[in-house]
């Protein structure tokens, strides 16, 4: 989602940890004046993070995108069924398929780097807000609503939120009788486009092809993306911090602090609570190196080797954030007015997790020397 109003709590938070990190910082600071120093950090031991990076690239990221691609294909199919036989039943099935596709997408937002960004796929899949004025004009026009038309339209007229707007309506109560033939046509073209985009995304990480994961897995001087395992691991860490920040200080804070439902990202579907939880699960998957039962080496293993207490704390805080978001009385749309304390508590839980990863896990990466 695009709009955020955020406040930074970092400076306050930093003071509390100042004492614990200041000695390390002296070492770091002086290292900058001396020799062979890539990132202003002096690496001690030779931990090999390759298994973690491999599991992240193949076991988590590619696997998530595979699920996304299949879920988007299912959504495309459900919308085809809806078009052929519009009824409250087929509409409910299409809405479920939209929510189901939303799960792997939100679980992918902890790693919005690589092809999803380089190839402009993120904006094409998840732009917000919907350009309602143009969408209504497209529907009112005589244009053929096919892939070619979709290709020529802006990102704010396609992807998840355009589908959401059409499937659920402004009040999320849109009855089947309110759908027009043109809307069905547009839904079909839009769902096909989403399916194509997610297929491309999965392909771009497929270990069988020229996949982006190879950059993450094998850093080095000849690697155009990552010169060291430390920077590849940092890429994953930035991904986790970024989505925690986005949930706490963007997706939750915007609507909450402005008391404005129009700033809520998945307002039409009332899916925001699930969205936010899946965003945190994205962090959980990367941290644990685990996706859908496939459990491999993750950040947890590396952090545990350095600081077992920290590993346990991150895991606890991840679960606490998921639980706190789940404790918001649904839907989020009304909770910002009726249960702002619960929303604020979720926000604090996510910020706590963000600060822990940003402030406490980050320095551990300095121990990577490869």
């Amino acid at each position: 989602m695009e709009i955020v109003r955020k406040r930074s709590r970092f400076i306050d938070g930093a003071r509390s940890v100042l004492g614990t990190v200041v000695l390390g910082l002296f070492a770091v600071g002086f290292a900058g004046c001396s020799d062979d120093d890539d990132d202003g950090i002096d690496p001690p031991v030779g931990y090999d993070a390759e298994p973690i990076l491999r599991q992240a690239a193949h076991g988590v990221i590619f696997a998530t995108y595979e699920d996304l691609r299949f879920a988007a294909a299912d959504l495309n199919g459900a919308i085809a069924v809806l078009r052929v036989g519009p009824s409250e039943t087929t509409l409910a099935a299409a809405r479920s398929a939209w929510r189901a596709a939303r799960v792997p997408w939100e679980q992918s937002e902890g790693f919005l780097f690589g092809p999803v960004s380089d190839e402009g796929l993120d904006p094409a899949i998840d732009s917000w807000p919907v350009n309602e004025t143009d969408l209504n004009a497209v529907l009112a026009s005589g244009e053929e609503l096919d892939q070619e038309l979709i290709d020529g339209l802006g990102d704010e007229l396609k992807g998840f939120h355009t589908l959401e707007y059409l499937l659920f309506g402004l009040d999320s109560q849109k009855p089947i009788s309110a759908f027009t033939a043109r809307e069905f046509e547009y839904l079909g073209a839009c769902a096909a486009d989403l399916s194509n985009k997610t297929e491309r995304l999965a392909e771009s990480w497929d270990p069988k092809g020229e996949n982006f994961g190879r950059f993450l897995i094998a850093p080095g001087d000849d690697n155009p993306r990552y010169a060291s395992q430390a920077s590849a691991m940092q890429e994953l860490l930035e991904g986790m911090v970024t989505i925690a920040d986005e949930v706490a200080n963007g997706k939750i804070d915007g609507p909450l602090s402005e008391q404005d439902v129009t700033l809520e990202e998945s307002r039409f579907s009332r899916n925001s609570i699930a969205d936010f939880q899946d965003n945190i699960r994205s962090i959980q998957n990367l941290f644990l190196g685990r996706y859908d039962g496939n459990d491999g080496p993750g950040f947890d293993e590396f952090v545990r080797a350095n600081d077992p207490g920290l590993e346990a704390r991150v895991k606890t805080e991840i679960q606490a954030a998921i639980d706190a978001i789940g404790a918001i009385p649904a839907p989020f749309t009304t909770a910002i007015f009726e249960a702002p304390q619960a929303v604020a508590a979720a926000q604090i839980a996510v910020r706590t997790l963000q600060d822990t990863i940003d402030r406490d896990v980050r320095p551990v990466l300095a121990d990577l020397s490869r």
Partner: protein, 459 residues
């Protein structure tokens, strides 16, 4: 979508920078700053960030005061916001004609655009008041390649590449590609006298430091004698300040045609996105009746929104160099100097007092630019004057952070139109004042060229 890092580990890195300064005997804030030396990777002084990931261009300067950091994050939202067609509840005012829907749409991850190139267009001559390019009747000053639904884009430009194979002096081959542009789907005939200039969105970090360089420093850089005998002689561009209604020194853009970041941002909102502000309250297509949406909604955004977006640009940090002590990198750095590249790609500048963002003031920076106009030769001549910039003159782009371009954006397409596919191709496009330096690079051995690239990748 397109989310980028909003909150840096600011205090953490501020401490690192502070400690680096202590460790290296840096001066106090009131003393004249001294250069901490080439082996310290502080490209942006106290505004340097330590990050070699795809987020490297998106981090706030670590020396921002708490209030500045909050405003930076608010500015990030303004920079990222996608605008939609009016009327709309949020982010209303896109178009009617436009090139992109958000700032971040061209400046992906604050880095370089690839396919999102725009085209300036003008008629021959100079505007009598501003001294700038003459708007082309029926098109204005920029070709908008997209439009809201129901309106036609002004044109769509297709690019054709001509590939050229050449040899370095040692016989090794290299290839170049030369772009030519064709206008498709034009709404009205474009006069053959039109002047057209392509512009790729440049990286947007470190701009507050550039804004903090004093006019005296820029004029001193322009007055440097040509000690090398290469014929290098930079000039400042004098451009129009729309609010002060006078000609001032230009700093930003490929031809240094914008005086400051607020005007630059307001202009981009207006021309690139079709979003009007109090600084540019008329749609760029106001004289083209086919784009009249009859909505009395101008200005579509407030001055505060423009200033927030500008503040975000003013307060982004500059990535630290990496591998500064690697022998190959050091050899490349020497070759870069010996070839004469540093005559324009100036390695060290001390900023002056920034008018509004004190964190950018009095910093020792390593931008590898003099921010002046230089004649770049016939191959880069775009045939179009831009204020005082002649068609073959371009502003030296800063090279800081360029070594992370592929990490951030997944490509290394350089120059104003992305024609160069890598550092060496970018060098061989240089001509004019840079001809002698280029000839020295063409005469290098393979290992010397690799060292030169290793140096550039360390930036």
């Amino acid at each position: 979508m397109s989310r980028r890092r909003r909150r840096a580990h600011a205090a953490f890195y501020a401490l690192i920078v502070g400690l680096l300064a202590i460790g290296c005997g840096h001066d106090g804030p009131t003393d004249p700053p001294s250069d901490p030396g080439p082996t310290v990777p502080l490209a942006g002084g106290a505004a340097t960030v330590f990050n070699a990931t795809s987020s490297a261009y998106t981090l706030p300067a670590p020396n921002l005061a708490a209030g500045s950091l909050d405003r930076h994050f608010a500015g990030d939202a303004a920079f990222e916001a996608a605008y939609v067609t009016a009327p709309a509840v949020v982010q209303s005012g896109l178009g009617p004609a436009f090139n992109e829907t958000s700032c971040a749409g061209c400046h992906v991850r604050n880095g370089r655009g690839r396919e999102s190139m725009l085209f300036r267009i003008s008629a021959p001559g100079r505007d009598a008041v501003s001294g700038g390019p003459m708007p082309l009747p029926g098109f204005g000053g920029q070709l908008q390649q997209r439009a809201v639904f129901g309106a036609a884009p002004e044109a769509r430009i297709e690019v054709d590449w001509l590939y050229i194979d050449r040899l370095y002096d040692d016989g090794s081959p290299y290839s170049m590609r030369w772009p030519t542009y064709r206008a498709q789907g034009i709404t009205r005939p474009i006069p053959s006298s039109r002047l057209l200039s392509p512009r790729v969105g440049p990286p947007v970090f470190g701009l507050g430091l550039i804004e903090a360089i004093s006019e005296e420093t820029l004029l001193e850089l322009a007055a440097r004698p040509d000690t090398s005998g290469d014929g290098v002689s930079g000039r400042v561009n004098y451009v129009w300040d729309v609010e002060r209604q006078e000609r001032v020194i230009g700093r930003f853009g490929w031809k240094a045609s914008e005086p400051d970041l607020v005007q630059q941002s307001a202009h981009a909102f207006q021309e690139d996105m079709g979003v009007t502000s109090p600084i540019f309250p008329r749609e760029s297509t106001a004289d083209q009746p086919e784009y009249d949406d009859s909505l009395p909604d101008d200005p579509e955004i407030s001055r505060e929104t423009v200033e927030l977006a500008a503040f975000y640009l003013q307060t982004l940090g500059v990535p630290a160099r990496r591998k500064v002590d690697d022998p190959q990198v050091r050899a490349g750095e020497q070759l870069f100097a010996q070839a004469g590249c540093v005559a324009c790609h100036v390695a060290r500048i001390v900023t002056g007092a920034h008018p509004t963002v004190s964190e950018m003031s009095h910093q020792v920076i390593h931008p590898y630019s003099d921010f002046l106009l230089h004649d770049m030769g016939a191959a880069l001549d775009d045939g179009r004057n831009d204020f005082d910039a002649n068609p073959s003159e371009w502003r030296t782009p800063p090279l800081w952070g360029v070594g992370l371009l592929e990490t951030v954006n997944g490509h290394v397409e350089l120059m104003h139109d992305g024609r160069a596919r890598g550092f060496l191709e970018a060098i061989v496009w240089h001509g004019g004042e840079a001809e002698a330096a280029k000839q020295r690079v063409l005469g290098m051995s393979q290992s010397e060229r690799l060292a030169l690239v290793a140096f550039l990748r360390s930036l």
